[in-house]
């Protein structure tokens, strides 16, 4: 095991090292012939690479004219795609509105139920809110026939209340969240991949 700075030499040579690392590499180079030789080799290699010539390029004007003749008549940007873009951005807005509506409705329902239980609502308003005990139809029917008793009856009532009141809201909210995440994933893919083709293979 050595203390050579080989792994930092490329970055040092390219001027990409920062801070104390530069000093560390320079101090090492001053004392280490192996690393100094590596650095010299990098310089030689770079010099050799620069020696490889590039063939003469045809006039850019002529090239641009040739390309112009080859361009497809219509690009993909059309009024249709513009409308699609608008529709595309309306999706998250719509989902957000649905989510706000569901959350608000749920919150108001809970608040009114609490208010009713505390006796803060008059009888007219209270009639709009169904009491949980009145909604457990299946459980009470089973209880009347003696099929549910004691703790089982209470547990069944709670389960039915949950299934009736909270479960649909949870399902709706999860659905909205999943739709939003799907939209976001598609957006992210489109955003990061500026052109629709794969990058160089690793």
């Amino acid at each position: 095991m050595s203390n050579h700075v080989t792994e930092w030499l490329n970055a040092y040579y390219d001027g990409e090292l920062k801070g104390k690392r530069i000093q560390q590499v320079e101090e090492h180079l001053a004392a280490c012939e192996v690393c100094q030789h590596e650095l010299d080799a990098l310089q030689s290699l770079s010099g050799m690479l620069q020696e490889v010539p590039v063939p003469e390029f045809p006039s850019p004007e002529r090239f641009a004219t040739q390309v112009n003749l080859l361009l497809p008549q219509k690009r993909t940007t059309t009024p249709g795609t513009h409308l699609f873009e608008i529709g595309w951005w309306m999706i998250p807005v719509g989902l957000l509105a649905v989510w706000v509506f569901i959350s608000t409705a749920s919150l108001l329902g809970d608040a009114m139920s609490t208010a009713k239980n505390l006796g803060l609502l008059d009888s007219t308003t209270a009639s709009f809110i169904s009491a949980p005990s009145e909604t457990v139809v299946v459980t009470s029917t089973l209880g009347q026939f003696g099929m549910l008793q004691g703790n089982s009856l209470q547990w069944a009532e709670r389960t039915e209340n949950f299934t009736r009141d909270s479960f649909p809201q949870i399902v709706l909210q999860v659905s909205v969240a999943l739709l939003y995440l799907t939209w976001f994933a598609v957006w992210w893919t489109r955003h990061t991949r500026q052109i629709s083709e794969p990058l160089l293979e690793s």
């Binding site: 970055a11 030689s44 690479l49 390029f57 090239f63 112009n68 361009l71 993909t76 083709e197 690793s202």
Partner: protein, 191 residues
């Protein structure tokens, strides 16, 4: 002066994005040589490089609406150019003579290479570059010939800076391994 140029190019890009073919031709004029050079460095064949440069600009025209001004246009074009060049090479099957391996680049035996001319030497280097894996060669080309920073290469190829560093180290190590014996020989001849 530079600012004026940048603003001007931004306006030209905007016009081209709205479908102005003349504006797009202006962009082609500005970037044609750079794109050609990059593709040539990648594939080592002038004819393929010219075809790939044309293909690059056609693809750029078709996808111009997805171009975001946060990325320099040059970098965006280079990214398309690399893919176009590689596609072209695969299609044309005109990749370098099979002789890359036949050159026996790592063989340090003194022979005719001791008489190697400048032209032969550059051919040797060119072939060594072309024998690199595509991904490492792309990084090397952008660093050595386009003088891009690691950050710029990272943005152009859409890879992390750490990957840029490792690919560059790898490419240079391979080149050194392949060329060093010859180089020492050549340098000795010059002395």
């Amino acid at each position: 002066m530079v600012v004026v140029l940048e603003v001007s190019e931004t306006e030209v890009i905007r016009s081209a994005q709205s479908g102005d073919r003349n504006a797009f031709s202006e962009l082609v004029r500005i970037h044609a040589r750079g794109v050609f050079n990059v593709v040539y460095r990648m594939c080592g064949d002038a004819l393929i490089a010219e075809d790939a440069a044309q293909e690059t600009f056609i693809r750029a025209w078709q996808n111009l609406s997805s171009y975001r001004p946060q990325t320099p246009l040059r970098n965006w074009l280079y990214r398309i150019a690399f893919n176009a060049g590689m596609d072209m090479l695969r299609k044309e099957k005109r990749i370098l003579p099979n002789a890359i391996e036949d050159l026996n680049l790592t063989d340090g035996q003194p022979s005719l290479e001791s008489q190697v001319s400048q032209q032969e030497r550059t051919q040797l280097v060119q072939k060594a570059i072309l024998s690199l894996p595509d991904a490492s060669r792309a990084v090397l080309v952008l660093r050595e010939y386009e003088d891009m920073s690691y950050q710029e290469i990272s943005a152009t190829l859409d890879i992390p800076v750490g990957t840029v560093m490792s690919r560059l180290n790898y490419a240079r190590k391979l080149l050194k391994d392949k060329l060093e014996p010859k180089l020492l020989q050549v340098e000795a001849d010059y002395v």
